[in-house]
């Protein structure tokens, strides 16, 4: 058993070295495929961060009439927080609302003068609601369609945000679908490239396989070195693609951060956090694919 295993690894390594150029070409194709996949993952990650940023900036405000007791608004806040669609609710007191109003219009003396003329604070309290998903805003605000709220709510600004919310939702959905589509195309291209590379590799060995059979090699003894080669190719391709991917991301990350107005994207830490899933998955994918393809391709020449 140990002897057989040793020989399978030996033949596999021997084959790798003696067909060095072909092995290198195969690995380069695999590396390019894996780098493309990593690039796509980066793109998908950046899209998600960007959409998250936009989504995070969206909220709806419910403006209450003046003199509504804070306790009553507190009850509404608690009710909203109990809804699964609601991520967070912030209470803005009339005083804070006035301060914010003054800050916003500090360069507009006409408005500030009118505030002085009014005398007391004309603004009521506000509840700022953040939903878990942009699609949820409509449902959340439906709550306030109830007539019982007419007496206490002055305005809800859903209509103002509706267009933005719909647009963001649409962009997010389209973005995810596009990313999935591109990933699918990449996956198909990768499978076809690997399929053909391995098939060509085995086609060039068809005479050798015939000779092995004629000197009494069992089918498994012939198959296993090819499977071992698949593992070697997969391992080297993943390692090299990691070595190439990390510096490239390290190089582009500061530029991307600049594009996002200083928001740190942490693309590298995304890869590091998920290294087992990403690179382990890629290794497993390449190995499984080469094993399946080589089994099919070798099988054709094992019928002697």
């Amino acid at each position: 058993m140990f002897i057989a295993l040793f020989r399978i690894v030996k033949f596999s390594l021997q084959d790798f070295l003696r067909n060095f150029l072909f092995s290198v070409a195969t690995i380069i194709i695999l590396i390019l495929t894996l780098i493309s996949i990593n690039f796509l993952l980066t793109l998908n990650f950046i899209t998600k961060v960007a959409l998250g940023e936009v989504r995070d900036k969206i909220d709806v405000s419910i403006y209450f009439k003046q003199d509504i007791p804070e306790s009553q608004i507190g009850n509404i806040k608690s009710y909203l927080l109990s809804m699964t669609e609601v991520k967070d609710v912030f209470y803005v007191s009339p005083e804070d609302a006035l301060e914010k109003f003054k800050e916003t219009h500090k360069d507009d003396p006409a408005i500030l003068e009118s505030l002085v003329e009014v005398g007391n604070n004309p603004l009521g309290a506000t509840l700022v609601v953040k939903a878990r998903d942009t699609k949820d805003y409509e449902n959340i605000l439906k709550v306030f369609d109830d007539q019982k709220y007419d007496a206490i709510i002055l305005e809800k600004n859903f209509e103002d945000h509706q267009a933005v919310i719909e647009k963001v939702t649409e962009i997010a959905e389209k973005g995810e679908k596009t990313a999935l589509g591109i990933a699918g195309i990449f996956a198909i291209v990768a499978v076809l490239i690997i399929f053909n590379t391995v098939r060509i590799a085995i086609y060039t060995h068809r005479d050798e396989i015939g000779i092995m059979k004629l000197v009494g090699a069992t089918n498994w003894f012939i198959r296993l070195p090819y499977l071992a080669s698949g593992i070697i190719y997969g391992f080297l391709a993943v390692i090299i693609s990691v070595i190439i991917t990390y510096p490239i991301i390290g190089f582009i990350e500061p530029y991307m951060t600049g594009l996002f107005g200083g928001t740190s994207l942490n693309i590298l830490s995304f890869f590091t956090r998920n290294y087992l899933f990403i690179f382990g998955g890629q290794f497993l994918g390449v190995v499984v694919l080469t094993i399946v393809v080589s089994s099919l391709a070798v099988g054709r020449y094992l019928k002697i």
Binding site: A4, R18, E208, M212, G216, T218, I304
Partner: protein, 226 residues
């Protein structure tokens, strides 16, 4: 003893390669199978090594019926029959030593046995100084010797040579023939397929002549008739 009984081989749809072949080859015999191209000589050899299956009839080696041999038993059979081909069939990316050793490696021989046996066999065929060369670095005659060395590595009871001198000049042909006779003297049954008239006539051994898939002559000390 090898027995071919009522053998018929038909390639689809209706090409009859062998018809009504009845042959008995005793242990230690040297038998030449001759005939023109396309008369079924190679098919007969392929049936013996289970590269092809008979359409009808029965082939036995000793008590072993190989007519319906299971796929998993084919490697076992091939380790017991040494085969030599006209086109050598050496692995081009392996050295001569590795080519010969490969036949041992596939059946799980230890490294110690390989290191001991391969040089001995290479010495017998006169290739002791060329063990580390690749097939393309040696002559055709030397390549055929390497193939003979590989086929002998399991010390087979049967050696099948399919046109072993087809690609060789007269000097190398004679040397290979002498080597085959020497192997036969050690007790190995040799089946030689050839259409080299001079070679066959010089051997003065049993000759089976095939014509259109049928045995037309079987002489104890025969000559190339066609």
């Amino acid at each position: 003893m090898i027995k071919f009984k009522d053998i018929e081989k038909i390639y689809p749809p209706k090409t009859v390669a062998l018809k009504n072949i009845n042959l008995e080859i005793n242990a230690g015999e040297f038998v030449s199978i001759v005939g023109q191209s396309g008369t079924g000589k190679t098919t007969l050899i392929k049936l013996l090594t289970a590269e092809e299956r008979v359409t009808r009839g029965k082939i036995t080696i000793g008590d072993w019926d190989i007519t319906r041999i299971k796929q998993c038993d084919v490697p076992v059979l091939r380790r017991q029959i040494g085969v030599i081909f006209q086109d050598f069939k050496l692995l081009p990316k392996k050295t001569i030593f590795e080519n010969v050793a490969f036949a041992l490696e596939v059946c799980g021989a230890t490294q110690g046995r390989i290191k001991k046996t391969v040089p001995q066999i290479l010495k017998i065929v006169g290739l002791e100084g060329k063990a580390n060369r690749y097939p393309k670095q040696i002559s055709g005659g030397e390549q055929q010797r390497a193939v003979i060395a590989r086929s002998l590595i399991h010390r087979p009871k049967i050696l099948v040579a399919d046109e072993p001198t087809g690609n060789l000049d007269s000097v190398n042909t004679r040397e290979i023939a002498d080597l085959l006779l020497k192997i036969n003297e050690f007790g190995t049954t040799v089946l030689l397929v050839s259409h080299n008239r001079e070679l066959i006539n010089s051997l003065r051994r049993r000759v089976v002549t095939l014509e259109q898939g049928v045995v037309v002559s079987d002489q104890e000390v025969g000559k190339y008739l066609l």
